[in-house]
Symmetry: C2
Subunit: 407 residues, 2 copies
């Protein structure tokens, strides 16, 4: 039944390469700006008109002809931002003008209000230099000039720029349709008191929050470790099985989770690409493909989930979004000794990342077991410890993956 | 009409102190875990039972009595995770047991499956050491022990821990009710082509995205810079004026935005706490209070919005959530010279934060004007440049505020 020969355990970097190679960019869609935060832009945004589109005053003051050297002027208009009343200024005439307002003609200079004295409809210039205090039409960008290049993940600042350019419905990668299944006969929902032998399901909460932080939702299912029942559940058209882009299966521990998930994936028509990862935690990882869809069999323990989500599932999400492959690893300094044991697999060690002075420092967290949730609650990073490494001393430079916003 | 005497411009640190002092913690509510990401926990979570609640096998193997020194055993049961079948083992008996399964009795040791040879219903022990491979009841935490302290912002990992502890509806600070008003006669919505003199409103998009990144939504209004119309709009019970916790007013530039917003706030019953900030950008900032509600008059230019949101509005959100005051500033190193001009106000300079080797480095962005949206699109931080500072050389240590997830 499980006769398919399995590939050997796959090194971490290879797993990343396999995921990136298998997960192609999804199609695009347009979304309103109000829903575009964090989405990946897939079209280049150009200036629809010169930026600024008209010469604007940079200050509150009085617009006069550059060639008019008088010191007393008659105020003939007051232009506020939003106004557009072009006019030719005669010698001795000024227009009062507010910051951001369109200049009424070419060849003007704005004298700051601080450098003037106003009496009724007249203004006397107290000080005048050559600074024009005008933001010229097109000084930021010319019409048609690319201002935001694709692909890029849209930040709040980028969205503000898009708004100012009239890109009110940018074209972005569509979101993947995600199905998550928690398997394991020992699991009960968090709100239920477990009987002896049972534990509360925490992986559904972890997967949901990981996805929510990325603007994604999933359909969450719980399946018994019963092959027929699980297959039926996952084939149910009501769960959109055919349209799934990303299938995440949290392994239970009860009946050989690895074989169970592998058989389930194979039976659903997925091709197994990675059957084991040479990492700790995460060894029983499965990566599989069906057409353009990807599936992950995630080892049931919470730390393995945490690591595999941030390393491998994140790589799949980036590939779906059409982002170029980039290393998830950063460099930091150990804030304390890390007592690794020379394990033959690469170890991903939960850590607390703190900016100290101008350096990124990592405090390795106590790690009782691969199911240790207390360290997970404090972890905002994990450290990459190469295979065969023993104790690493405080101050050692290490590679790490941040898992939360900036420290 | 504007006769109220105004306090002098307020230094940055004082503005932060004023905001923290004025914004008290909001009441609490309970939410399901699925909606709790990023919310601030306001109750201490204790272990509802010993953790783990029963002695569990740490490996796949065979449970035998510690005092049974035989080398061949008869398999009398198979316990999977989720099973609970207590039994007394007689000498020569073993129970096959999966990782995570409850041990059937006290005084047992688990021999790893790798150290055994199985034939039909018998198992021969090839290697045996003193390691018990048991996660003891209560070894992580005792019933009633506090495991997550309040207040803390709930990460994905913290939520997973809460799920495992059965804290399925944690008590968190309720979300503030936010109303945002964009004023300015020069503004048109992003989807509309501006006439000469007009520009597209980008601040609504910026404010919405800033809030969305923090799990918040606001009611967004646009008001003309017409005092009577704006007051009527903001008093409209349909906009929940009475229940507003946080009122954000984006100033227009057309008719003296500062006076307009100040008069509007005063007329709505707010007390002005800060009438000007000694910062660049952000000088025309207003902070006001009405009972437990806070209001900000945000200078209309986008960079001032960016800075004031991340510095001052963030401080208000933290105070509402009941978080203790912490400095928003981190230390980093300049990746290039920063050409400040000795300005008498503290300057917040937009920057691109990058982790380089193990250091946080900041590339100052080109900053044409305080309305420069192009730099805003790239900015993920801003640098604090003290008043009176001229050029700062590459490599100088500077304080900065990160505005996006980790570099």
């Amino acid at each position: 039944m499980n006769a398919t020969p399995l590939p050997p355990p796959t090194a971490l970097d290879e797993v990343l390469a396999v995921v990136r190679g298998a997960g192609g960019p999804l199609a695009t869609e347009t979304v309103p700006l109000a829903l575009a935060l964090g989405r990946v832009l897939r079209e280049t945004i150009v200036a629809p008109e010169d930026q600024p589109p008209f010469a604007r005053s940079a200050v509150d003051g009085f617009a006069v002809r550059v060639d008019d050297t008088a010191t007393e002027f008659r105020i003939v208009d007051f232009l506020r931002a939003g106004d557009w009343r072009p006019r030719t200024l005669a010698p001795g005439e000024v227009v009062r003008i507010a910051t951001g307002a369109a200049l009424p003609a070419d060849g003007l200079q704005v004298i700051m209000v601080e450098d003037t004295a106003v009496e009724a409809s007249c203004v006397r210039v107290l000080r005048r230099d050559t600074e024009r205090h005008v933001r010229e039409r097109g000084e930021d960008a010319r019409r048609g000039q690319p201002l935001v290049n694709a692909p890029c993940r849209l930040s709040a600042g980028a969205l503000a720029l898009l708004a100012s350019l009239g890109a009110a419905t940018p074209r972005v990668a569509r979101q993947p349709r995600v199905v998550h299944v928690a398997t394991g006969n020992e699991l009960v929902p968090p709100e239920q008191t477990p009987a002896t032998g049972q534990i509360r399901d925490s992986n559904t909460t972890l997967v949901r929050a990981f996805l929510a932080a990325r603007g994604l939702t999933a359909q969450h299912l719980r399946a018994p470790e019963d092959f027929a029942a699980a297959t039926t559940l996952l084939r149910d058209p009501a769960h959109g099985a055919a349209e799934t882009d990303l299938l995440l299966i949290s392994g239970g521990a009860s009946v050989g989770e690895h074989d169970f998930t592998r058989r389930l994936l194979t039976d659903l028509g997925y091709e197994i690409l990675v059957a084991k990862a040479a990492t700790r935690p995460g060894k029983p990882l499965l990566v599989a493909r069906r057409g353009t869809a990807l599936a992950f069999g995630l080892p049931g323990n919470p730390l393995a989930h945490f690591v595999c989500l941030h390393l491998f599932v994140q790589a799949a999400l980036d590939a779906f979004a059409g982002l170029p492959p980039t290393s998830p690893f950063r460099d930091g300094l150990l804030a304390a000794d890390l007592d690794n044991d020379g394990n033959g697999r690469e170890t991903l060690w939960p850590a607390h990342l703190v900016a100290h002075d101008s350096a990124l420092t990592l405090e390795p967290l106590r790690w009782i077991s691969s199911g240790d949730l207390s360290s997970l609650a404090r972890a905002n990073a994990f450290i990459r410890v190469p295979a065969g490494t023993g104790r690493l001393a405080r101050g050692t430079r290490v590679a790490f993956v941040p898992t939360s916003p900036s420290p």
